[in-house]
Every structure is written in C-alpha cells, then in structure tokens.
C-alpha cells in the first residue's frame, strides 16, 4: 500500500520504506518548507514512512510584510 501525503488541498502518493525527507525530495517539495505530521505528532526528517500511512504536511513559509 502506498503512503499518502497531504499538503493544503493537494494529495500525493509515494511508496513506503524511505525516509520522509527522501519522499519529499522525490515529490519536489523542499523539506525545509514543511513539517510532516503523523497521527497528530511531528516526525523528524529521518523517519521511515510505512505502508498505508497518512502524513499531513504543514507549510511553514510565511511571506509578505510582517
């Protein structure tokens, strides 16, 4: 079963067994620009993603004038 990743209103699928950082690079998403969350908990870049998981990606870049 693939791993599903969501970012805002987009959904991606990748194969399991790689690190989340590797998965993000494969999807052309800058790892620095998101925080991955699994079952409500933040996970580190070196976590291996597993079959059937759903990972929510929270964008961290804010812009414009503060």
């Amino acid at each position: 079963m693939p791993v599903r990743l969501t970012l805002r209103d987009k959904e991606f699928e990748v194969r399991s067994g790689m690190t989340i950082r590797h998965a993000l690079e494969k999807l052309d998403i800058q790892p620095e620009s998101v925080i991955p969350i699994r079952e409500g908990e933040l996970i580190t870049d070196d976590e291996i993603i597993k079959d059937g998981e759903l990972i929510r990606l929270v964008p961290v870049i804010s812009g414009g004038c503060k």
Partner: protein
C-alpha cells in the same frame, strides 16, 4: 535541526526555544526584565509563539493586533483576529486591537486602490501603515520596547533582497535591535531572529497554539516568498547556510560595515508636522501623505 547538528525530543525542544530566546534577548541587550513590552501579533505562528514565550519567561508583554480589513473571499483578517483574541483570552494576556479603517479611514485593500503606492499591490501601503500604527501604539501606551516576531528566514530573505539590489540604507538599518531615537522612533527588537521558520512552526504546533495557516492573500507571488524558497534550496544542500549568512552579516556590521550610512540616516530624521511621528521627509511623513491622498481620492470618487 541540521544547522545546529542537534536533535531534540519534544520535551527538550519545548524547553530549548524559551532558553534560546532568553539567550538572544541578553546577547543583543534587547530589554531588561522590568521592561514594558508591546508585541505586534498577527495571529501567525511566530508572533503568537513569541508572545507566549515572553510571558512564560516572566516578561510584562502586552499584544497589539492591527486589523487590516483584508477579506479577499477568505475572511483573512477576521480569522486571524479571532485566533489572536482567543489566544489572548485563553492565556490571560492583554490585547489591544487597532483597526486601520478606524485609525486611517479605510481598510488596506480599499486604500491601496486609491494610491499609486505599490503598483496595485497593497503590501507597501500595508507595511507603511503597520509600522506607523505600531510605533504610535507603543509610544502612546508608554511601552519601553516594541517586539516583532521576525524569524531568521524573514531576516535572511530581507537581507538577500537588499543585497541583490544593493539597498545600502536598508542594509545599514537591518538589525535584531533598532534603537529608539530622540525624534520618537520606538526601540524595536526581534527576539526570534535566530530561529528558523521551521522551528517556530514546530514550537507552535507542539504547544497546540492555534494560528492562522493561510498566507495573506496578497502575499502570493511576493518576492520574500521567492527568496525564502531559493534560500531553502541552498539550505538543503548546505545545512546552516541561512544562519551563517545572517550571522556573518551581523558580524560585518559590528565591525563597521555600513556605519557611515547609518550615522547619516539617523541624523536626518524630522518630525511630521501632521502626526508628530519621526520621518526622513522634511514636512509630512509618508503615512500622512499617503493616507491624505487616499482620503481625498475617496471623497472625489464619492
């Protein structure tokens, strides 16, 4: 945190952020423990996290939320205001809400259409208006210092943009601490200036702080976001590049780079004849000039 070669569990990360904040406040002599602090809060992850950290550290920190009146079909300002008000109430913090429409006569999107400033993008007018209202609120409220939630990514993106265009005046002024001036500019400091954006977001999420995840609708295509993405690419290849870029800049400034420019700029400040706030212009400040133009065009169009 690859830039620090450091991996922390949740418990230690949540302790590390306030410890480092305190260290940064001391290192840059930002303010004393007894200072009255006004935190500019937007409802975003940085300012709400900073406000909470300052409170936990025992500082007397009140909040200022500026209602810009931005809707754009996503209810942006109302949403961020509600989150900020709820946060303040839940944490028993003192919050002041200043509405741009009440202070100046129109909300930001309406006003932007009536001025040439910013070429149809309200960001320039918005920045000008916020800086004016923040300074006035801090001064009138008797605060010692104005605090903003700028993080390292904000600082590095600004630095990068100013270097690309060699905006020497802006480079001279960029600093974790902007000193107060006798003409009335409040002391302004950025205690989160050495935290990566990813760290402040992680802190907010771990703390369960409800912040506005949506970007300002007008920030789409903003240069600052483009620079941040570019710099993140650099960071991915060279962990620590952003931090090193910023710290090297501060070190160079400390060694005297831009000192001449800074001295000249500070000597030139005047007092606006309309609002009494400091300005580099000889008569009226940019805020008064721009908003007078907005109000006169609004009347003409009525």
């Amino acid at each position: 945190m690859r830039q620090h070669k450091l991996a922390l569990c949740k418990e230690h990360f949540l302790a590390w952020i306030p410890e480092q904040t305190q260290r940064i406040i001391k290192k840059y002599h930002m303010f004393e423990p007894s200072a009255r602090i006004l935190v500019a809060v937007s409802g975003g992850k940085d300012s709400l996290s900073l406000w909470q950290v300052l409170h936990r550290l025992g500082y007397l920190a009140d909040g200022l939320y500026i209602d810009l009146g931005i809707d754009c079909g996503v209810d942006y300002s109302n949403k961020s205001k509600r989150l900020t008000e709820r946060f303040a109430a839940e944490n028993s913090m003192q919050l002041t809400v200043a509405s741009v429409a009440e202070v100046a006569g129109a909300n930001i999107p309406e006003a932007a259409k009536l001025t040439m400033r910013g070429k149809n993008k309200p960001c320039s007018l918005c920045g000008l208006t916020k800086r004016h209202i923040m300074n006035r609120a801090a001064r009138d409220g008797g605060y010692d210092v104005l605090v903003t939630g700028h993080n390292l990514d904000d600082e590095v993106a600004t630095l990068f943009g100013n270097i690309l265009n060699w905006k020497v005046g802006y480079l001279a002024r960029q600093d974790p601490v902007l000193q107060a001036t006798s003409s009335g500019l409040m002391r302004k400091v950025k205690p989160f200036c050495r935290f990566y954006e990813r760290e402040t977001a992680a802190f907010a999420l771990m703390k369960g702080i409800e912040y506005i995840h949506d970007e300002c609708p007008f920030a789409t295509g903003a240069k600052s976001i483009y620079y941040k993405e570019y710099l993140n690419q650099l960071e991915a290849d060279r962990p620590g590049a952003k931090l090193s870029f910023y710290l090297s800049f501060l070190k160079a400034k400390e060694s005297g780079l831009f000192a001449e420019v800074n001295r000249d700029a500070r000597a030139e400040l005047n007092i606006c004849e309309t609002c009494g706030q400091p300005t580099s212009a000889p008569e009226q400040c940019a805020f008064c000039r721009t908003w007078n133009q907005v109000r006169s065009r609004d009347v003409a169009n009525a």
